[in-house]
């Protein structure tokens, strides 16, 4: 009864838990192409590529500068798209346009605040002066993006630029003399 009660674990189950160690097959059946074992000999080739001549620090600086310029010009690349979306979303106060305006302000400001972090990895002692130029360009680009947001809220009429926006603070002119009628 006890043998019946606890049946032996089937092999597939046991192997699922403890996969058997890979053993190269004794027979010469080739592995299918792409099978890891078949690529094993080419590892030396990869190693050969990795063992390319290391770039000089000048080259590294140029590369980093190039990369930094890409980052700096990043904000302006999205602008045409953002502009079209802003134009399409209209000037009415809706959740979509409000979110968009919020993002249009949040991103540039956060970007400007995080200028140093953005270029930290490209900065070296040698290219500091050039990176500064890039940083300035980056800030200018962020300001351009910000200007787009300002243009948007102006379009939405949220900027107090007109006389009517200050009307509530204007006082009524009071006459110094008063009259009452008895007619």
């Amino acid at each position: 009864m006890s043998e019946l009660a606890i049946p032996p674990v089937p092999r597939w189950a046991a192997e699922l838990k403890n996969p058997p160690v890979f053993k190269p097959k004794a027979d010469k059946i080739p592995d299918p192409p792409g099978y890891p074992s078949s690529q094993a000999p080419s590892s030396s080739k990869v190693h050969k590529v990795a063992q390319r001549k290391a770039p000089t620090p000048e080259e590294m600086d140029t590369l980093k500068l190039k990369k930094a310029w890409e980052v700096a010009l990043g904000p302006i690349k999205g602008l045409p798209m953002t502009g079209i979306m802003m134009y399409m979303s209209g000037n009415s106060l809706q959740i979509f346009s409000i979110m968009m305006v919020f993002m249009a302000f949040k991103n540039p400001i956060m970007g400007i605040l995080a200028t140093n972090q953005a270029f930290e990895r490209f900065e070296t002692d040698s290219n500091r002066g050039k990176i500064l130029q890039v940083k300035v360009a980056y800030v200018v680009m962020q300001l351009v993006a910000l200007a787009l947001g300002v243009w948007k809220i102006n379009g939405m009429g949220l900027l107090p630029t007109t006389r009517s926006d200050w009307l509530a603070w204007e006082a009524q002119r009071e006459p110094l003399e008063h009259a009452v009628t008895a007619l």
């Binding site: 007109t162 009307l167 006082a171 008063h178 009452v180 008895a182």
Partner: protein, 980 residues
């Protein structure tokens, strides 16, 4: 606009409800209406059966304000009514009904008319020259059942007397009797075979009575009798009574000292004398009007302390008059009325204690019913009665009397001494009304004053003590919370807190003080459906006279109201109770033209202005700090200021005069209301620029017409300097039609009847009611404030043209537009709200439609673009394309289906909530409602279902409480009983 079809349909359906002035569930909740007739006159009020074969009778009256109407005697509801002349009249007129006829005949002024007795539809209306003096129904005519109308006229120039017999069917003249004479026509009377015209003959020193006897068929003169009066009769009022259609009509008068009563049976030359009891103050005669009734009459003698009556019988054969019996003297004035049932004549005597029914044949009372204690608040003056003899065993009578009391109420007293209904007819003919806040608790004001005057420590102890004292009200307050909660949920209102009036947080509970021309004043609770809280008589105004109120001033802090009259009279009473504090009766001479509420060193006071517009030097602490604008005898406007003449004494000085140009006469003057809050000083245009409003609290609009040139000129004046700021002229204006102006904020409007050209066809001229609206701005250009720019203050006395500002002037830039109205309007008024944020509405009475309309100011916008579509910027501003005709939209009629008759004036007052303005209209009817020109944006409407809301909240919380533990248990179970 490409809306989905179902959405646009929905919008279309939603539109009417959005613009509806009154919601159905608000009717009777926010508005109230007293359907009034006016105080019924003694001679023109009677019970009459409108259908011959039915017993039910109606009560008909032609009141002292010229309203002819029928009232249901059992309920007091008005069946139908007509304001005969279109405006309120000063009494007079005649009303008669033929026995068994289904129509009543009336006469007022120069017209005679007949009305269907049940429906009130007009049967005929005929106008003649001259003025009607008397009206009678010819009960028996030659052509079968038709009853004709006899109308006695006095020609306009007093040169002749005309009696016309008009057909009862269509009002056509059957015959006319004309006599060219200087005699004063008095009355007409008829018995079965003759018509008698009674007139005063001779001169004013001593008139004799002239009786002209006419033939009923042809109107030919049969006889003429002159009855000497021995100098007793000096005017037509001295002849007390001319018996109507009784079998033996009589004419009666007294001597000057009220000692003798002289009676003449018409058609006879003799007159009989009867002595009156000593001390008689006035004598009245009551007699039946039916031909078949016994020729008995009752003489009602009033003395200073009581009243008595004598009953006389006329012998038909000999014309002799004998005294049948007399009635004992009773206290008070008492009221008698006559009713007849075929030959029987009954007299009803109504005193403060009982109703006594007498037959004309014996002095034994047929019935006597004591009045219930305190039922009749005030003494009955006169009345009419209906006596019905009940068929069945024994002699049983039912009597009901409609009496006018000395507080101008019309009361129906039933046989069992109960009051069936009481109509406050005295509220008609109101001459002035004002809104008053419900006075705050006076004790609190006093204690606060007391605290302010003591030292800090004492005041603190006093206050702590007061608060501890106030704790005794805490249980009552806690007790009241459930009832307040339920009333708030169910929408019922609690207006009285421990029987006292209290303000409410919305400001809907206010009082209206109403003063009438009869010398009565009323206090109405606006928040409680216009309930009459109190009424009181200020003065006894003689019949024909009017209490001419020039000003009402409500002193909030003292809780007192002062009403100033034109005859040096005034009355001061408590606003809350109407109790008179101080009163001075009117003098005979009219001495005050108007009154101005001026600010003085001792607060606001009412300053009386003389007839010629002069102000006598008031006491030093009553000297106003403002210029007072008055009107002179010639209609000119004057500005009076007070200047120091010698030392400290200030004396009035006329600083400017505005004489209306030659040929013109002033028809309407409007100023901005005393409470006219302006929320924004400019108007924001579509491009976000600002057009600044010209807000001059001293501006006044004066409309003057030229009868000859048919022009209306509207002047805008500055009342400090008297300078004309602007004027405009409208041509082809009918000066005979009412012209009215209204002003508010930076705009004014005048409504008139005039002609205008049609744009498509310049030759075509159309006449119609128009309204000219003008906006005043500080400058033509937006974003400009004129030469004064943003200075905080200015003096109107400075020159209008500012030197050095390039010819710029401080005159307003006016934009005007004229609209054609679908109906005439009158009693113009503008809504007032607390802060002026809500849009304004022009409120007006529609005399033809008997309703009060609220025209949105947006509709009457002068800047609406003409002849082109609106630009998007203008659309943003809320402008709509100009359309010349403004039809009166029934949905904008605030009085909806109510028939509001004869409104003379509308007053408005702001509530505490910004959205709402309180409206009160008076004239004949009294009507009040709340207006929300920008809809109710700050309070929940009555349609808001608080029960559902609270039910939902309760159900949800119950669900949460019930499901919470279950869910929690389930979550724990899932964690612990995880399947292995």
């Amino acid at each position: 606009m490409l809306l989905p079809p179902h959405l646009s349909t929905f919008l279309l359906l939603a539109l009417p409800s959005a613009v509806r002035a009154v919601f159905q569930d608000e009717v009777g909740h926010i508005d109230y209406h007293y359907e009034l007739l006016g105080v019924p006159q003694r001679e023109t009020t009677f019970f009459h059966r409108p259908r011959r074969d039915e017993k039910a009778s109606l009560l008909y009256t032609l009141s002292d304000v010229g309203v002819l109407g029928a009232v249901h005697p059992s309920s007091g509801a008005v069946l139908w009514r007509h304001l005969l002349n279109g405006t309120l009249t000063d009494g007079g007129g005649f009303l008669r009904a033929g026995e068994g006829e289904n129509w009543v005949a009336g006469a007022l002024g120069k017209s005679v008319h007949a009305w269907d007795a049940v429906s009130g539809r007009n049967k005929f209306w005929v106008d003649f020259s001259g003025e009607v003096r008397d009206l009678e129904i010819m009960e028996m005519t030659e052509n079968g059942g038709r009853k004709d109308v006899l109308a006695l006229f006095d020609e306009e120039d007093g040169s002749s007397t005309v009696l016309r017999r008009l057909s009862g069917d269509d009002g056509s003249v059957v015959w006319e009797f004309k006599e060219t004479t200087k005699d004063i026509p008095l009355q007409v009377s008829t018995n079965v075979e003759k018509v008698f015209v009674i007139s005063l003959h001779g001169n004013a020193a001593a008139y004799n009575l002239k009786v002209t006897v006419l033939d009923t068929l042809s109107g030919k003169r049969l006889d003429e009798l002159v009855i000497g009066t021995k100098g007793d009769v000096h005017s037509k009022e001295d002849v007390m009574f001319v018996g109507a259609n009784s079998a033996a009509p009589i004419v009666a008068w007294t001597d000057n000292s009220l000692q003798k009563l002289r009676v003449n049976v018409l058609g006879l030359k003799t007159r009989q004398e009867f002595s009156l009891p000593a001390g008689a103050v006035s004598v009245e005669i009551h007699a039946p009007h039916l031909v078949q009734s016994l020729p008995h009459f009752l003489v009602h003698i009033k003395t200073a302390s009581g009243n008595s009556a004598d009953v006389y019988h006329v012998d038909l054969k000999t014309g002799g008059i004998t005294k049948a019996y007399d009635l004992p003297v009773q206290r008070g004035t008492g009221a008698f009325s006559t009713s007849s049932d075929n030959a029987n004549v009954y007299f009803t005597r109504i005193t403060n204690e009982e109703i006594v029914l007498l037959s004309s044949t014996s002095n034994a009372a047929i019935g006597c019913w004591p009045l219930k204690e305190g039922e009749l608040r005030s003494a009955a003056i006169y009345g009419v009665s209906e006596v019905v003899k009940k068929t069945g065993s024994g002699e049983s009578f039912a009597v009901r009397s409609a009496v006018v009391t000395d507080t101008d109420d019309w009361v129906l007293v039933r046989k069992n001494g109960e009051i069936a209904w009481s109509r406050p007819e005295g509220m008609t003919g109101a001459v002035a009304a004002a809104f008053a806040e419900i006075p705050e608790n006076e004790d609190l004001v006093k204690t606060l004053e007391q605290e302010a005057h003591s030292n800090i420590l004492a005041a603190y102890i006093h206050r702590v003590n007061r608060h501890i004292n106030d704790l005794k009200y805490l249980p009552a307050y806690l007790n009241s919370i459930p009832s307040r909660l339920t009333s708030s949920i169910l929408g019922t209102e609690v207006s009285f807190k421990d029987g006292k009036l209290a303000r409410d947080s919305f400001g809907f509970h206010k009082l209206v003080i109403l003063a009438t021309r009869r010398g009565m004043f009323y206090g109405l609770d606006v928040g409680n459906k216009g309930k009459v809280l109190w009424s009181n008589r200020a003065f006894d105004i003689a019949k024909g006279d009017k209490w001419n109120v020039t000003g009402i001033h409500i002193d909030e802090s003292a809780g007192e109201t002062t009403v100033l009259g034109s005859n040096k009279d005034h009355v001061v009473f408590k606003t809350e109770t109407g109790k008179i504090v101080d009163a001075k009766a009117p003098e005979a001479q009219v001495s005050t033209r108007s009154a101005a509420l001026v600010n003085t060193l001792s607060g606001q006071v009412l300053l009386a202005v003389g007839l010629d517009g002069e102000i006598s030097s008031p006491p030093a602490d009553w000297t106003p700090g403002q210029t007072v604008v008055t009107r002179g005898l010639g209609g000119e406007l004057k500005g009076v200021t007070f200047v120091a003449a010698d030392g400290a004494k200030l004396s009035p000085l006329v600083t400017w005069t505005f004489p209306v140009p030659q040929g013109q006469k002033t028809v309407s003057i409007a100023t901005r209301p005393a409470h006219d809050s302006v929320a924004s000083i400019g108007r924001v245009l579509g491009d976000r620029s600002v057009k600044y409003k010209y807000l001059n609290p001293n501006a006044l609009v004066l409309a003057a017409v030229d009868d000859a040139a048919l022009t209306l000129t509207v002047y805008l004046l500055d009342t400090v300097t008297g300078q004309i700021l602007y004027s405009s002229k409208y041509e082809g204006v009918d000066a005979g039609k009412p012209i009215e102006c209204a002003m508010s904020e930076n705009w004014f409007m005048c409504s008139f009847f005039g002609q205008y050209g049609v744009r498509d066809d310049p030759d075509q001229i159309v006449k119609g009611y128009q309204i000219a609206v003008s906006d005043m701005y500080e400058s033509d250009q937006p974003n400009e404030r004129g030469p004064l720019d943003d200075s905080d203050s200015y003096s109107p006395l400075d020159p209008l043209d500012v030197p050095g500002a390039g010819g710029a002037s401080t005159l307003p830039s006016v934009v005007s537009q004229t609209y054609v109205l679908g109906a005439p309007i009158s009693a113009l008024q503008v809504t007032q709200t607390r802060q002026g944020i809500s849009a304004r509405q022009l409120l007006a009475y529609l005399p033809d439609m008997h309703g009060i309309v609220g025209l949105p100011r947006m509709l009457l916008e002068p800047r609406r673009p003409v002849g082109r579509d609106v630009t998007p910027a203008e659309m943003e501003e809320g402008l709509i394309k100009y359309h010349p005709v403004i039809e009166i939209d029934p949905k904008s009629v605030l009085s909806h289906e109510r028939d509001v008759l004869g409104v003379e004036k509308i007053i408005t007052s702001p509530a505490v909530v910004e959205s709402t303005s309180l409206l009160f209209a008076y004239g004949v009817d009294v009507f009040g409602t709340r207006v929300a020109p920008s809809f109710l944006f700050d309070i929940l409407g009555k349609g808001f279902n608080k029960v559902t809301l609270i039910g939902t909240v309760l159900a949800l919380s119950a669900g949460v409480f019930a499901l919470g533990p279950m869910v929690r248990r389930k979550q724990i179970d899932t964690r612990w009983n995880a399947p292995m």
